[in-house]
């Protein structure tokens, strides 16, 4: 490290500390209210919106299960403040400590609350841990841009404990960890066999348009196939209200299948990306929250690959 960069780093550290101290006193309140959906099981439903200064990044569903061996938290929210407020909300319901925090995948609203919890309690699939290590910094920076001072003092913390798929007994709750992929490289789904609650993470959206920054659409569809065959009593999607049936799974599938057809067709028709952005959306999707913005984002994220397929020489071969 050069002397200059050391000085620069010290200055940044002092500056960051200053802000942390200043802003810690003025933590914004997410108004988190856990809703009981099954025995020992609470969900905190976020808004069906984009990240913004107004919502502080609380567009995500988090959940917790109170077991005899401690509390299992599923996703920690978009910021340090969210994580701390989640911990306080749990403490209002039980005096059991949080013994396990599961990050379903490496998107910022699902792990940036990790700081609030004991490092040893954090766990995720190996590719999620890797994703937080490699992209956590830039995802965190982007959240500061989008949510402003709600993010005060937030730093990415990657879980140290890698999870493997399979059963996990936790204080009387028979959990099943299901390792899937498609929304990101690793999507953890948790089925609580004791209550029948299925925590689907961002493989399932309900009433809100799915996000696709790391999506692999065929793998995502395969994951949805598997979820649709899983029996459950309640389905907790990553975004949108809790459901009692497979409706949100089919809704997510329908959107992704349409998006795939739309982009493939556009690329085969030789459309420029600016032309794809102006194509009208079918009426059936008008009811999905933030559909226009997510469509635009998905075109930007996914269209180059469809374009490349349409332009490559492969297609000419019979």
């Amino acid at each position: 490290m050069t002397p200059l960069s050391r000085t620069a780093r010290s200055l940044i550290a002092v500056f960051a500390l200053g802000w942390t101290v200043l802003l810690a006193a003025a933590d914004r309140d997410y108004g988190l209210t856990p809703v009981r959906i099954a025995d020992d099981t609470w969900v905190l439903v976020g808004r069906s919106e984009d990240f913004s200064f107004a919502n502080g990044g609380n567009i995500v569903n988090t959940a917790f299960i109170v077991t005899q061996a401690g509390v299992v938290v599923i996703d920690s929210g978009p910021s340090r403040a969210y994580g701390e407020q989640l911990k306080r909300a749990i403490a209002r319901i039980t005096d059991k400590p949080v013994s396990l925090v599961l990050n379903t995948h490496h998107h910022p609203d699902h792990f940036l609350g990790n700081q609030a919890f004991a490092p040893a309690s954090l766990a995720a699939l190996p590719a999620t841990i890797k994703g937080i290590h490699s992209e956590g910094g830039s995802l965190n920076e982007n959240m500061y841009r989008l949510a402003g001072d709600w993010m005060a003092g937030t730093e990415p913390v990657a879980p140290a404990r890698p999870l493997t798929a399979g059963p996990l007994e936790m204080g009387g709750h028979r959990l099943e960890l299901i390792a899937l992929a498609g929304h990101t490289e690793a999507d953890l789904v948790i089925l609580d066999r004791s209550t029948g609650v299925l925590f689907a993470g961002d493989l399932v959206f309900n009433g809100r348009t799915p996000t696709t920054p790391h999506a692999d659409l065929p793998r995502w569809q395969a994951a949805l196939d598997q979820l649709e065959k899983t029996s459950f009593t309640a389905l907790v999607p990553g975004h949108g209200p809790v459901a009692g049936d497979t409706g949100p799974i089919r809704q997510t599938r329908t959107w992704l299948a349409w998006l795939d057809r739309q982009l493939r067709q556009a690329a085969d028709d030789g459309l420029d990306m600016t032309e794809v952005l102006t194509l009208p959306l079918p009426a059936e999707f008008r009811g999905l929250a933030v559909v226009d913005a997510e469509y635009r984002r998905s075109v930007g994220q996914l269209y180059p690959a469809y374009e490349q397929r349409a332009l490559s020489g492969e297609r000419r071969k019979p």
Partner: protein, 262 residues
């Protein structure tokens, strides 16, 4: 003396009034429709002082109002409503490197689709010089969280592009409106030189011609063109050919040469 000055002023006013009266397009305006504080600088930097520069709605610049990915912002320029287009210069007022691309549509439609890197929210403009020497300027604001120009390309972090540098994939479509559309993608990392330790590396010249070697479009690229650039070019029916060719080079002298077959 005073009288002379007054007469001169009157004459000047008459001349202005007349030329305004003669202007064919009602769309012409003399103040920046994008209301950018940088326009006066742009006017000085991009055009000779003596050039006639007008705002003209017939120059269409299409880009998303909000660009989510500042490294890859799609932009289409269409000046085909104007006759006698000689060259088109695309620039962004607030980019650290203002010039994006310049093209001469000698045989192609006066239109080009491409993708760019933006550092912050900015007007993106196309200035179109017609045969009479007048510059017609159109544009649109693009809002973005930014950072696109000072990040390294993903290519520069991987050895993959070195093996495939300059590789072209392309395809030709018949257009409903008549004529043909060529889309092509070139493997190139395109670094702006603004990311620490990574020198500027970009496509400098591209020539699109038909299989007889007759020119269709000359494209001069600058640093803010996005990585692995994709271009969309439309060819009028009168210039449609059995096949096409693209050739050119980057600023390090690496050649690009490929047939574009149907």
């Amino acid at each position: 003396m005073k009288k002379q000055a007054l007469a001169a002023l009157t004459a000047l006013w008459m001349a202005c009034a007349c030329s305004a009266g003669h202007a064919a397009a009602p769309a012409e305006r003399r103040t920046d429709p994008l209301d950018s504080p940088r326009w006066a600088d742009m006017r000085k930097e991009m055009f000779p002082a003596t050039a006639q520069v007008i705002f003209d709605d017939r120059v269409k610049v299409t880009a998303p109002l909000t660009a989510e990915n500042a490294m890859n912002v799609p932009v289409s320029v269409d000046a085909s409503a104007l006759n006698g287009v000689r060259e088109v210069l695309v620039f962004a007022d607030f980019n650290p490197i203002v010039r994006i691309v310049r093209f001469e549509p000698s045989g192609a439609h006066a239109a080009l689709g491409f993708r760019i890197k933006l550092q912050q929210s900015t007007p993106v403009r196309a200035a179109v010089r017609t045969a009479d020497g007048i510059w017609h300027v159109g544009g649109t604001w693009v809002n973005t969280a930014g950072g696109g120009c000072t990040l390294p390309s993903t290519g520069s972090g991987s050895p993959e592009w070195q093996k495939r540098l300059g590789e072209v994939s392309s395809r030709v479509w018949a257009r409903k409106e008549g004529g043909e559309r060529i889309r092509l993608r070139i493997i190139h990392p395109i670094d702006t030189g603004l990311a620490a330790g990574i020198p500027a590396f970009f496509l400098q010249d591209l020539d699109l011609s038909d299989d007889q070697g007759k020119a269709l479009m000359h494209i001069e690229g600058f640093e803010p063109i996005a990585e692995n650039p994709v271009f969309t070019v439309d060819i009028p029916a009168t210039r449609a050919a059995a096949a096409y060719r693209v050739s050119g080079r980057d600023n390090n002298g690496n050649a690009i040469s490929a047939a574009i077959e149907k």
